[in-house]
């Protein structure tokens, strides 16, 4: 049982590859990080070489200093918390509404024909243009930003949920129907699990959009938050600071993405993608 394939003369590379070194290197987090280093070094080098004015593109080293200063001075913290709260609340509300509306529409082609075009129409309205109305309705505080974020985040979930719910194989639905399952039971037992991969893509896209949404909301008018800080620093031509915040936003986005991936791993264990793959 333990004798390995040592006799394969016609396939020397199989035997010549005993140590899984290159694979573990690939699989480690090292490579992406080293890519980051390469990008940063290239960026710094190009800025110096081409003599790019720092007002256009600051050097990564300057950005790092700005980042450090921002946190060390305590300046970033309250704004980070405000924006984080807007993002998370907006994401949660948008995702929730998107999924629920997606379920309603996905289960009823009638609802789809009735409502979906209006949703698309609403969705294409530039949020910047309707932001004043949001402020009038929801006030100057965080609520209006959260709602702007939610209205941006909800559409990918809506669209993905609808299609995901419809992707359930007909024979599974027939099987459940034959057991006299109600539409609701079919939804719970077949459509929803089947829709999960779609819903997770939607969450991934929505995560990214909610970061953008919160910032757009703050651009329109705010007294705190990272978007407000960007405007402020832009006004002061503090490009290194702007980039530090942009990087902070990216990290928030990547963090949300990793969160979505982690939840997905737990829920989609049965998915075939995780099955073993042949070495061929």
């Amino acid at each position: 049982m333990t004798d390995l394939d040592v006799a394969a003369p016609a396939a020397p590379h199989a035997a010549a590859d005993p140590a899984p070194a290159p694979r573990s290197w690939k699989e480690s987090r090292l490579l992406p990080l080293s890519l980051l280093v390469v990008v940063l070094v290239a960026w710094e080098g190009l800025v110096i070489l081409l003599d790019v004015p720092r007002i256009v593109l600051p050097r990564p080293s300057a950005v790092a200093v700005a980042m450090w200063d921002g946190f060390a001075s305590g300046l970033f913290w309250p704004h980070l918390l405000v924006t984080l709260w807007e993002i998370l609340a907006g994401f949660a509300i948008g995702a929730g509404v998107g999924i629920v509306l997606g379920v309603l529409i996905g289960l009823s082609p009638f609802m789809e024909r009735l409502v979906y075009p209006y949703v698309v129409a609403f969705q294409t309205l530039p949020k910047v243009a309707i932001a004043p109305i949001m402020v009038i309705w929801f006030g100057y505080g965080l609520t209006s930003k959260i709602i702007i974020t939610a209205t941006i985040a909800f559409f990918p979930l809506l669209a993905n949920t609808i299609v995901g719910l419809r992707s359930a194989p007909r024979d599974q639905i027939d099987m459940l129907r034959a057991c006299t399952a109600s539409e609701w039971q079919i939804f719970r037992m077949a459509r929803l699990p089947q829709a999960l991969p779609y819903i997770f893509v939607g969450l991934d896209v929505a995560a990214v959009l909610s970061v953008i949404g919160a910032i757009v909301g703050e651009f329109v008018g705010a007294r705190a938050g990272l978007g407000y800080l960007i405007l402020q620093m832009n006004f002061n031509f503090n490009m290194a600071g702007v980039f530090a915040i942009l990087i902070l936003l990216s990290l928030i986005g990547v963090g949300l993405h990793l969160l979505v991936v982690a939840i997905q791993r737990r829920l989609l264990f049965w998915s075939e993608t995780h099955a073993e793959v042949t070495g061929a």
């Binding site: 024979d171 459940l176 006299t180 039971q185 049965w270």
Partner: protein, 268 residues
């Protein structure tokens, strides 16, 4: 007044009444397929009917219409005096493909009808466990469908159809992926269950001896459009025993059915 099967019996007459049933599938290339033509069949309460016929003659189509998951094109189908409008609680269905839910473990798959019909889940789990043991799958309760072999998946599908002790069973080639011995044991188990439940069974099979061995009547179908070529009364005594396979009466029935295949169709 409900009878022993749990299905309210029609005031008089058979449990299942099919008359002038037609099914035409519309297909993408406009070449419609006339799958069933002028099907007429009555099934008495408690009867065991087997259906044989060449591949593509409409057996699965017929079962799906009876299960209430496929619309007929014309004709009448009644179960217990009611036109079939949709699925029926007293029905258990074994599909031709196993159709398991990949995100549920084996035992959870077996329990699906119990969950759907809001039965006592503790009792259902016990029944599911007993059925899994019966089909030789104890120890696999907590595996997931993609970790099972083809035959094992099919057996899970059989357990699922049986878990609610249905009064009326529709089985579409339930034992097709099983080896000969398992198949024989399953046949005996099925007959035992049929007896103890007093159920009515419609079973599609490709094995003519199996069809004869199990049935009160064998329905022989012919293809395109699917029609009933003959309905053969099997007058072998009950309970059936393995050694009956070698009796001349048995052989006569098998021979009579085989003739249909030889004459009406070449390969199809």
């Amino acid at each position: 007044m409900p009878d022993a099967t749990g299905l309210p019996a029609a005031a008089s007459g058979p449990l299942v009444r099919i008359s002038a049933l037609e099914k035409i599938y519309a297909t993408r290339d406009k070449g419609n397929v006339h799958a069933l033509h002028d099907i007429r069949l009555d099934v008495a309460d408690g009867e065991f009917i087997t259906i044989v016929g060449p591949s593509g003659c409409g057996k699965s189509t017929l079962l799906k219409i009876l299960a209430g998951i496929l619309d007929k094109s014309a004709g009448q189908v009644e179960i217990a005096g009611r036109a079939v409008e949709g699925p029926n609680r007293d029905l258990g269905v074994v599909f031709q493909a196993p159709v398991l839910l990949p995100w549920r473990s084996v035992i959870e798959n077996v329990m699906v009808p119990a969950i759907v019909q809001k039965s006592d889940l503790g009792a259902a789990r016990q029944r599911a466990q007993r059925l899994l043991t019966m089909v030789g799958l104890d120890g696999f309760e907590d595996k997931y469908p993609r970790e099972l072999s083809g035959g094992m998946q099919q057996r899970v599908g059989i357990c699922r159809a049986l878990v609610q002790d249905p009064a009326f069973l529709l089985m579409d080639e339930p034992f097709g992926a099983l080896d000969a011995m398992t198949r024989e044991t399953m046949n005996m188990e099925l007959l035992r269950l049929w007896k103890s439940l007093g159920a009515t069974i419609l079973l599609v099979t490709h094995s003519i001896p199996e069809a004869v061995f199990l049935a009160d009547r064998v329905v022989v179908m012919s293809p395109r459009p699917g029609r009933i070529a003959e309905v053969i009364e099997v007058d072998l005594p009950r309970p059936r025993r393995m050694d009956m396979f070698n009796t001349p009466e048995f052989g006569a029935h098998v021979g009579r059915i085989r003739r249909h295949f030889d004459s009406t169709m070449e390969l199809d």
